[in-house]
């Protein structure tokens, strides 16, 4: 029954045997935690699949555009600002390192590859998590605790399709584009600090940027941004959507804690998945 029903029973309520001897007593918390984590991972995977499938519903188009505006367009300024200063810092730091080896000519290569391969995707994802991810968790969390999500179910509207799918779609579109902006502006920032302020030759800088950057670097960076985007949006939406199932708090406080968890977990997952994806790409 209740195909659209909301799960009101806590996922923590997994029946585990009571500790019977000291060894069990020692390992019981770890086992319980492992079971809970496993359950949550499964729940997140199903949650993502349910949302992803419904992206292709014809009624989603305007909602997706709205979310692209929110996640993408409204994050563009802050992402570009951070990208510019990140590029400047890279230019500055790398100049002082490279000058010791008499290799300032490769400043463009160092800045571009650092940004395109690593810093662009990671910092863009972290910036979007801070700006849009936290807002998503809070918004969906408030909708959950004020029964707006339940109201959707009673109207035969799948809340996952209505609330989550447009955000996942928007992340797929926005994260790579914003990462590209970050990379370009970052390279520009590196030029400002390296060439304009420290006197590196502009022609050499841009020649090194173009000659050292291969297509695989760009696609690798974009794949990372796509993975980070899906992770960030899924984690943030999941935390908001199931905020009512927290056992450590209720109401507004549960939304606040869910938002914190979403941001922390997203940032950690960005860094962990960065390593994993890099391993596959290289």
């Amino acid at each position: 029954m209740a195909k659209n029903s909301t799960e009101h029973n806590s996922s923590d309520a997994i029946a585990l045997p009571k500790p019977g001897n000291p060894l069990t007593w020692l390992f019981h918390p770890f086992g319980a935690h492992a079971v809970r984590v496993n359950g949550n991972l499964g729940a997140i995977a199903i949650f993502f699949l349910r949302a992803f499938i419904q992206i292709f519903h014809p009624k989603q188009f305007s909602a997706i555009v709205q979310q692209i505006y929110f996640i993408g367009a409204k994050s563009a300024q802050i992402v570009m600002l951070v990208g510019f200063f990140t590029g400047m810092v890279l230019g500055l730091q790398l100049y002082h390192v490279l000058v010791k080896f008499g290799s300032v000519g490769v400043l463009g290569t160092a800045v571009a590859l650092s940004l395109i391969r690593e810093m662009g995707p990671v910092l863009t994802a972290i910036m979007i998590t801070a700006r849009a991810g936290s807002a998503m968790t809070a918004e969906i969390g408030i909708q959950r605790i004020s029964e707006q999500v339940d109201a959707l179910s009673t109207m035969r509207v799948d809340p996952v399709g209505f609330l989550i799918s447009p955000r996942i779609a928007a992340a797929i579109v926005s994260f790579p584009i914003l990462t590209t902006f970050f990379d370009l502006i970052g390279i520009l920032g590196g030029w400002v600090s390296g060439c304009l302020l420290l006197g590196v030759n502009s022609g050499a800088y841009y020649y090194r940027v173009v000659s050292a950057t291969e297509m695989s670097d760009i696609t690798g960076g974009l794949i990372k941004s796509l993975v980070f985007g899906l992770l960030v949006v899924t984690i943030c939406c999941f935390q908001g959507f199931y905020t009512h199932m927290r056992t450590d708090s209720y109401g507004a406080r549960s939304v606040s804690l869910s938002t914190t968890s979403a941001v922390v977990l997203s940032c950690v997952m960005i860094l962990i998945s960065d390593y994993v994806v890099t391993t596959f790409i290289l």
């Binding site: 209740a2 195909k3 659209n4 029903s5 707006q148 009673t154 109207m155 035969r156």
Partner: protein
């Protein structure tokens, strides 16, 4: 042939962790009826409603729709079932980032293939019916609690559901609005014939619109039957909830509840000689539908309330006691007056009521027609004489039979002013 319930609870038990909220609950909801679920706060009324819409699942027992357990429905059957139901949440559950018209049209936009123009027209019609036309483009947070409630009502009704679940639709409303919302529920139920299940604390007002009452007490349904049967219901539940709520109602309106009215009648008249006389007057607002049509539910309720207040003031001063009997009818007992004296008191009442009863509205003289942009309505009154051994209902029936117009008023179409 026995009536088949449209929804039936069979031995439904619901627990949250170790706390049992519903314990083997059994009840039936019948098609085309208004059923009201009453009970103390926190006893599981909303939980009961949420089981019907599938937001909660029972731990034990079954919920049946037209005899079929809802947990055994196929996906299509479930979608068909849920598509017939609208749910009005206790806290409205309006989308705070959408305007009122977007909120009302949301279920149509998401679940139908109607064109945008049709959806807008239908949503605007629902908004107009709930008297929210002026605020259709505002956000819920910009509206008062009462307006938000009406917006939720509009959203619940816009899909033309055949079953509507109202979770305390009158909470947070002033007395006029409470009755206006109950009147609205009754009117829509009459007009569209849907089945309504209502949670309400508005006792006794809710009796006027309910076909059946369910009483939830001690995790079980302890009563199900008609409002009249409920009047005779003897149970600790009554002591805990009804007495307090009814007394509160009396404090607010000054009128007796139907039950207290009967108790007072029996107390006063049981001590009298069998041949002692008393008089009963009944009052009604004629053309209530016309008032609702031209001025809305709020205006209609204000008129009904003003009439009740005036009756109580006037007849209370001469030893009478009054009660609201139906949505637009009051009854007054004059325990120590015979018919002649009652007629004199009534004549005074008529005169006073025409002059001061509804101060915002102009009283029409005999033969006078209402102004062009106005409509007229009448207040009816009738008297009958009774004896202590006669049932009050019979005497009231006579009084109803004797009703004639005692005052005519004109009201402006679309507003309260003259």
């Amino acid at each position: 042939m026995e009536k088949q319930p449209i929804i039936e609870f069979r031995g439904v038990t619901k627990r949250f962790d170790v706390r049992t909220i519903l314990d083997k609950v059994d009840f039936q909801i019948y098609e085309g009826e208004v059923t009201t679920l009453i009970g103390l706060s926190g006893t599981g009324k909303s939980v009961t409603l949420k089981h019907i819409i599938g937001l909660l699942k029972p731990d034990e027992g079954q919920i049946l729709y037209r005899g079929k357990p809802i947990d055994q429905m196929s996906k299509k059957e479930w979608n068909d079932y849920i598509g017939q139901i609208s749910y009005m949440f206790q806290n409205n559950a309006l989308f705070d980032s959408l305007t009122i018209i977007e909120n009302v049209s949301l279920p149509l936009r998401q679940t139908t293939k109607m064109k945008k123009k049709e959806i807008t027209e239908k949503a605007l019609a629902a908004i107009e019916q709930t008297e929210l036309t002026e605020v259709f483009d505002k956000y819920p947070s910009e509206l008062s609690g009462g307006m938000q409630k009406r917006a939720a009502l509009a959203r619940a009704l816009v899909t033309d559901p055949s079953i509507v679940l109202f979770d305390e639709p009158t909470t947070g409303q002033d007395p006029i609005r409470k009755n206006a919302i109950l009147g609205m529920v009754a009117e829509y139920q009459n007009r569209f014939g849907f089945t309504a299940l209502l949670i309400s604390h508005e006792i006794p007002d809710v009796y006027f619109i309910s076909n059946r009452i369910l009483a939830l007490y001690g995790k079980k349904i302890v009563f199900q039957g008609t409002p009249d049967e409920f009047e005779e219901f003897e149970h600790p539940f009554r002591e805990e909830i009804l007495t307090s709520l009814e007394s509160l109602q009396e404090d607010i309106t000054g009128l007796y509840s139907k039950r207290h009215f009967k108790v007072r009648y029996q107390t006063d008249l049981s001590k009298r000689q069998p041949d002692a006389m008393y008089a009963v007057a009944t009052f009604a607002v004629d053309d209530l539908d016309t008032i609702i049509e031209h001025s809305g539910h709020d205006a209609a309720q204000e008129i009904i309330r003003a009439l009740g207040s005036y009756i109580n003031k006037h007849f209370g001063a001469v030893g009478g006691f009054s009660s609201r009997q139906t949505i637009n009818e009051y009854a007054t007992v004059l325990p120590y007056s015979d018919l002649d004296e009652a007629e004199r008191i009534m004549a005074d009442f008529k005169r006073d009521f025409r002059e001061h009863g509804l101060p915002d509205l102009k009283s029409l003289q005999k033969g006078e027609k209402p102004d062009a942009d106005h409509f007229e309505f009448s207040i009816l009154a009738g008297l009958a004489q009774g004896k202590p051994q006669i049932e009050i209902e019979s005497v009231m029936e006579f009084a109803r039979f004797n009703q004639t117009p005692i005052a005519r008023f004109q009201s402006k179409r679309g507003g309260k002013s003259q």
